[in-house]
Symmetry: C2
């Protein structure tokens, strides 16, 4: 997602490095020649080293010592930020700096960057088109019924679903970088839209306002997506972690399934809430009223038909098209049946008139001056993030399968543009559908051309066949949606998450139950909060671990992880378990180290015969950063150790840490003994 | 603060270690004897090692290899938690397990644990008492006027201040572990109380209810503090970092100063708000009305007097008592002057009648059934935390000066008890005062006896002298409070924070301006939020750094920190800059590594002649933890590197990390090459 964010300050540090190295070569001479007690106070730590063999070894040791304490100034937070931003924003610009003098090729490559279609259409062959055509048609046959179904799920008129399968795919085909992604309406987004918008407006009461709101939300979603792409904010999508998505999808699937009971039982009144409790109440109530079974029969029979075809498709790869066109077949069949038996007279709900013709221009339908504008924008943001997360997750998995790279930021830009244009041509939020993308891949599509084929097919059907859908029973849509749900519930993955990381699983479960019992957006919120709480807990955990020398090496490692590691008697080598010694854990860590030093008996049980510890070595190699509280507690630690007659030495502090220690002149004030490695610290102090 | 939280699972891992070691000694034989392509799939990585010299070296190398991949199972989060809690709660209990059979000594040592007074009163000498007496009297002479002043700051009647200097110090003397801490009312807490309680009740309108609320808050604060102590939640105090306290104190000082204009100008009406804007408005308005100058003159003249004495005290250590008794002197003088000149007739505000006699029992004044109970409890919590933070900060700094240890949890317990008992004897929240503790220390106190002396002195003055304070001008209290403020503003420290850590300074400034322009509690809230945002930023920063071999050593370090570090051609050694590879940064890190591998030219500028990178070594030594998203992106990274014809190896993964990688069978599935050190990885892979 962050392709354009290269290594920060790469070029200027190159220059700096040269400067440093020249400086270094001078200092090295001075060091090797100068007496051991140099003006640098910390070279005092070198005293114990015997000065007889004033050879290469010692020179190097002292050089190390010197450079541990006098590294080049690390880049400050601001500079890091600025560099990062510059890298991010101007990476594309820089690319064209070189081509400035030949404007033609510059424009070409600019066009190619914005419209990847120019890249692949060059060497596009008839063979490729054949497979794309096949894939496109298969896709269309699955897409038409699904679109209608999802539109009803989004509480919009059926034609909006079809509209959404026309314009967005065409635009994505021009701008997108994925070859397999099948664009159009999807179940989760449709649910998300209806569940959030109907808090502002009742779709039954005044559908016109509702649909206008939906279009406005789509517009905002597009704006946000495009903005993410342009500002390279791809990483925002990462904040919905994989675990969260698994839980969220599962919850959403169940909620969607419950929504289908409306069509299934042919109910006229249904709740606007999406949580399982209120929905089940409604269903329970309606089941106990007399209800007509025909809808139910139609739905179940065709659902079984679709599932059987899918099973066959799985068994025999040659029949991949069968599950794909099964929905279309069932729509046609059910429509015929209803038409012939006139079952609508006996209470079978039918679609009735679907508005034919192509997408209308809907610029004037967008609300901006409404009082709910801010509310609508908020919904737009949520929808945008969720849509992107799903699309990029799907796109990337297939890209990795085929072994090419997906540019997250370009993807976002193209999705944004397609939704903006979509909202102006009466489409609601479109994104990459998981089920259809799989079909597209299975049908062996080569390029985004399959999307174009699909779009054109849908367009034709909008022109010609909509009035044929008059008698299509609503129940069939329910069965089509239901057949798409099992793919959303991934128990296996959930089990893996549980196995590997309990806290991740907690986030997953949080999302699941949040969606199930509260609402879709609350589910997401809960999950995100859990995820970040996890990060904080991990960052400030105040653990310490005793290190020992791995036998036969110069490596010091955790004595619990490597039980054969040998502790030096009288020396306590400690590594802090977190990457940040800050206000929240510094005191804790200090106390624990002091406890360790105190607990003689405990030491002995660990087979450390040395009794009293004379030296504590703090391995700071995994301490990324430290704050003023951290430094303060280090100072206090040193004071208290001194009272206890124990020395404190430090090994391998990182760039930021040593820099801050020097600024707070911890180094000079306390003569802090700082070395490159734990081994050197032992040699240096004893 | 966390003394009792020793190393988790120390004892049982000791046992485990033995088990492991025995297991290990067996496995070691099997390894050294078995062929290199063992059933352990990852030993495949060993192939390149030449099998001729099947000696010690290789045995060790393979042993390392084996143990990297097969460490003992790390303690799960639950077990860690349980251990930690057990350690925490039963540490004191365990202490008495040993003494179970001799009940007498058990009770003794229990008493000594709860009441440290028994420890120090044993070897208490007349000499010690002399110095304590002197210190106590000095303390009292400073404490009496300050108490009255702070009571007015807390919008309570003057006697409450005096009450608060009687009971709490006596209890603390019995239970507290600090020898210098001077207990009583303090400025910041008084301000905090008034600023928050007067949102519930107007102190002018019905002072009785207000003071009852104040007592209830005190009670709750005591409960919370005691609970913190008993549950060993000392670390909660750390969440107000040093930087935050600096900013908060400075802001509070200014706010308190502004509050003094009421007494300074002898205003009758004043705002209940504490933020600088509304207060300055009131002052501005009142300055433009005719106001009488006498109050102002009295205040300023005595303020200058106090400051001069303080200056003298600083100059000449022998005169330490002068600044201490200056407030008392000025109270006496000003009272005399007003009495003789009858200045109260000309608009000089005076204290009038102060209710004499000792503390009344105030059990029946506590509200529990009031509708505001929850609100009051909330205030209690905030006050409790702030009070503890100040007291422990002050206490610990002096303890470290004298070189003894302060038990944070005991401190909390004793503060809690003293405030609970205080609230039942009409005292409001007491804590350790910075200024008075310094005086106490300067006066050479030996033990907490000085607190007892002070309390008795105040008690006597309550009995005898309160009616002498009838003519004491209110302005003098303002001058006493004002004279105490400069100690709260520590510009020097603020500068140090700025110098060392910009983000810490941000938190500091946040607290400062929050207190100044919004309100005291909002200031704290802002600061805490900033602090935790800082932690998150630090934890998920997606930086990577290229490593090189430090010349003449086997140490690999950041090439920017150590410019002389040498990169091996064709090998890219990367270390991740955060301790957590999680959903929030994993993707980012992956992309950056891929960029690095991609950027050939960039490599060359860094003097890496090797051109194409054949091997990427991920130094995982500072990766504390990884989640499912992290593992997923590692897998993706490996896939993409393979496409690019580059190998991925890992060095020194931590316990949790390698455990999770195995659970997610990343190791087996991708034959991930994992080694103990970067050096071994290089040898192993090339």
């Amino acid at each position: 997602m962050a392709t354009a964010l290269g290594i920060t300050h790469s070029s200027d540090t190159a220059r700096e490095t040269e400067r440093e190295l020249s400086k270094f070569s001078q200092t090295l001479q001075t060091i090797t020649t100068m007496p051991s007690s140099a003006n640098n106070p910390c070279l005092a730590a070198e005293e114990p080293l015997d000065l007889e063999n004033n050879g290469q070894a010692e020179a190097e040791a002292r050089m190390a010592q010197y450079w541990v304490l006098n590294p080049p100034k690390p880049p400050g937070p601001w500079r890091d930020l600025v560099n990062s931003i510059r890298k991010t924003c101007f990476s594309t610009v820089n690319k064209f700096q070189s081509l400035k003098n030949q404007p033609f090729s510059a424009t070409i490559s600019l066009l190619e960057t914005i419209f990847p279609v120019f890249l692949w259409c060059r060497n596009y062959t008839v063979m490729k088109f054949k497979s794309d055509l096949l894939a496109g048609l298969t896709l269309a046959s699955l897409c038409i019924p699904q679109s209608i179904g999802y539109a009803t799920l989004a509480k919009l008129d059926p034609q909006y679903g079809l509209y959404t399968s026309v314009v967005p795919p065409l635009i994505y085909a021009l701008m997108g970088t994925s070859r397999e992604l099948a664009i159009g309406p999807v179940a989760v987004i449709s649910l998300l839209l209806s569940s959030m918008i109907q808090k502002l407006e009742d779709p039954e009461a005044n559908p016109v306002v509702y649909s206008r709101l939906a279009l406005t939300v789509t517009f905002f979603a597009g704006i946000f997506q495009a903005a993410f792409g342009l500002l390279r904010l791809g990483f925002l999508v990462d904040f919905l972690s994989h675990a969260v998505i698994v839980g969220f999808m599962a919850g959403a699937a169940i909620v969607i399934g419950l929504q289908q009971f409306k069509g299934l039982l042919g109910l006229t009144h249904f709740t606007n809430k999406t949580d399982i409790i209120s929905v089940s109440k409604v269903i329970w109530r309606s089941v106990h009223h007399p209800w007509n079974p025909f809808n139910f029969i139609i739905c179940c029979s065709f659902l079984t038909f679709i599932l059987i075809t899918r099973f066959l498709g799985k068994r025999n790869k040659k029949l991949f098209w069968l599950p794909a066109i099964a929905p279309l077949i069932s729509v046609v069949l059910s429509t015929l049946i209803v038409y012939l038996t006139r079952a609508d007279k006996n209470g079978v709900k039918i679609l009735k008139h679907i508005k034919g013709g192509l997408n209308q221009i809907s610029i004037h339908d967008l609300y901006f001056d409404s009082p709910q504008a801010s509310e609508v924008a908020k919904i737009g943001l949520i929808v945008a993030v969720v849509a992107l997360t799903e699309a990029i997750a799907v796109g990337q998995s297939f890209a990795t399968m085929k072994g090419y790279h997906l540019d997250g930021n370009k993807e976002m830009l193209s999705m944004g543009v397609m939704n903006i244009v979509g909202s102006l041509t009466s489409c609601y939020v479109a994104t990459g559908s998981f089920s259809r993308t799989a079909v597209n891949f299975g049908a062996g599509c080569e390029t985004a051309m399959s999307n174009i084929v699909m779009a054109i097919t849908v367009m034709l059907s909008l022109e010609l066949f909509t009035r044929l859908l008059y008698y299509t029973p609503v129940a069939i849509l329910a069965s089509i949606i239901l057949s798409a749900l099992p793919a959303l519930i991934d128990l296996n993955e959930a089990y893996n998450i549980w196995k590997v990381d309990k806290l991740d699983f907690l986030a997953c479960i949080g999302a699941f139950f949040g969606v199930l019992f509260a609402s879709v957006e609350i589910g997401l919120l809960v999950a995100v909060i859990i995820s970040f709480a996890k990060i904080i807990l991990n960052a400030i955990q105040p653990g310490i671990e005793a290190l020992g020398r791995f036998p036969g090496t110069d490596v010091f490692c955790d004595v619990h992880q490597y039980p054969m590691a040998i502790k030096a008697p009288g020396i306590l080598t400690i590594r802090i378990k977190s990457s940040l010694l800050c206000f929240a854990n510094a005191n804790f860590v200090k106390e624990r180290i002091l406890n360790r030093v105190g607990e003689k008996e405990d030491e002995e049980t660990k087979g450390d015969a040395g009794g009293r510890t004379k030296l504590v070595i703090l391995d700071m190699s995994n301490l990324m950063n430290i704050d003023t509280s951290g430094i303060a507690s280090l100072e206090e630690l040193q004071k208290k150790l001194m009272l206890h007659g124990t020395e404190l030495a430090m090994a391998n502090p990182r760039w930021q840490v040593v820099h801050k220690l020097r600024l707070a002149n911890f180094v000079n004030k306390n003569g802090g003994r700082i070395f490159l490695t734990v081994g050197e610290a032992m040699d240096g102090c004893l």
